[in-house]
Symmetry: C2
Subunit: 278 residues, 2 copies
């Protein structure tokens, strides 16, 4: 692993690192914020998964998470949204290929070679950061848009590996949305039965979640039709699942929305990640 | 004035606007954050001046000021750092011409035609925002690097127009620095006596400031030799000027430094701007 940049930030340190990824078969970049408390002992980890077109950098510079993470003693890991590079398959569209990994393990050519963001985040990057930084083995996960989809998917399918989950304007029902059907078809093929394990509305219906879930959604979001929060909210209510789906009046899909509620999400995860483990 | 973008942010609104500037003789872009309190009545204004190479956008997206401004009921105005456009003189160097207006009124060709950022910020943009937005006539000013120089220069020379001043890693003594001598020579000519009114160390020596001044400076700043905080700190001490020059260990010149102390600067200004006027 190489440290590319390192900046002092809220008495902790914001780092950008690269490493060769076996899972993705290419070099990968990620960012990690270590709060001041990590100088004293291991701190829990909040995973933040970004949306379409983003890299590790967008939320790192525009999300405002560091101030809250420093206040609450959490590390934050910002993975990239796909493998990248000349040898990595891509598409001209902004919503397929590089920058649009959708947090799946692709099974179809040309994507299957490198596009394995599900395994990458769940195991390889997790093992790497646990090995390299002073982190406690307590993990929360959140994300925005495609990253909200990734966060919910990863948590709901791996309840032993995550202690808390939330999302900002997640793609909540990708099997029924143009943000989903196109990508799942490309990455996984046309058999829709293979898609269900990447749809958080279906997963929540099937598995529930062991604790409360926090979802924030801008009521003025320009992509509401693609995000389909009504699907997830419906499951939450039907299943009597503990949690909050908050429709936030006036907010759109931008990082101004994410930043506005970043503090509450970090506090939500901190409450759970600092709890004594049962 | 045209509103280019408008995003809900911490229950207020972040706007980007353009307007034809008489002072600069070209269209100018600026950003303004209006906190939720501006929906009830006029709010005081914090001016944030940016550094070399920046536009109105950098601090707006990376500084994290909105959260604190919302908490304290301040508007924040982010002007651009120079006139821009095809008809506006420029230089290939990053530190002269577009993006590097230095908050002066240029008097030499080819700069004198458009480069009048001192007057632009002090009068034209001020009149415009006071006219267009629900703002109280109470003004604080801060800035980063070249913008810290601008903030100090504007406040020290116009003590009736500003109620509070602070700076992040300001170019504190430009008449003695390569960040200053080059630009002042280009914009104002070789007669150094014309430069003194744009050097905050000289201005503080001459005028003092009616209240306390807050300066934050990263002790690990890669540009310390160019910023010359020792000049301003020396004047502050010699003159028994109320204020703090805080050398912050480990911090560099980046927006991670600015964001880390943005909350304390906003609180500093809010304390003063919300005081009953004497």
């Amino acid at each position: 692993m190489d440290v590319v940049t390192q900046n002092r930030c809220f008495d902790g340190v914001q780092m950008v690192c690269t490493h060769p990824s076996e899972v993705c078969g290419t070099d990968m970049t990620f960012a990690v914020y270590l709060p001041p408390q990590s100088g004293i002992g291991p701190v829990p980890v909040l995973w933040y998964l970004s949306g379409l077109t983003c890299t590790h950098e967008n939320a790192m510079t525009k999300g405002g998470f560091q101030e809250h993470a420093a206040a609450h003693g959490l590390a934050v890991v910002f993975p990239d949204t796909s493998p990248r590079g000349d040898g990595v398959a891509d598409d001209e569209a902004y919503d397929l290929g590089q920058g649009a990994g959708f947090y799946v393990n692709a099974t179809r050519a040309p994507w299957a070679t490198h596009y394995r963001m599900y395994d990458y985040v769940l195991t390889e990057l997790r093992d790497l950061v646990m090995d390299q930084f002073p982190l406690a083995d307590r993990h929360g996960i959140t994300g925005h848009s495609m990253g909200g989809h990734g966060a919910l998917t990863l948590a709901l399918r791996n309840q032993d590996r995550f202690d808390s989950v939330s999302a900002f304007a997640p793609i909540a029902n990708p099997t029924q949305s143009d943000w989903g059907r196109k990508q799942l078809s490309a990455y996984l093929g046309d058999d829709e039965s293979a898609w269900a394990c990447y749809d958080s509305s279906i997963l929540l219906e099937e598995y529930g979640w062991k604790d409360a879930i926090l979802i924030d959604q801008g009521a003025g979001d320009q992509f509401l039709d693609l995000l389909r929060p009504e699907a997830l909210a419906g499951v939450l209510a039907r299943r009597r699942q503990a949690g909050l789906v908050r429709m936030q009046p006036g907010y759109d899909h931008s990082y101004y929305f994410v930043a506005s509620f970043a503090g509450e999400h970090v506090a939500w995860h901190a409450d759970r990640l600092h709890r004594p483990q049962s």
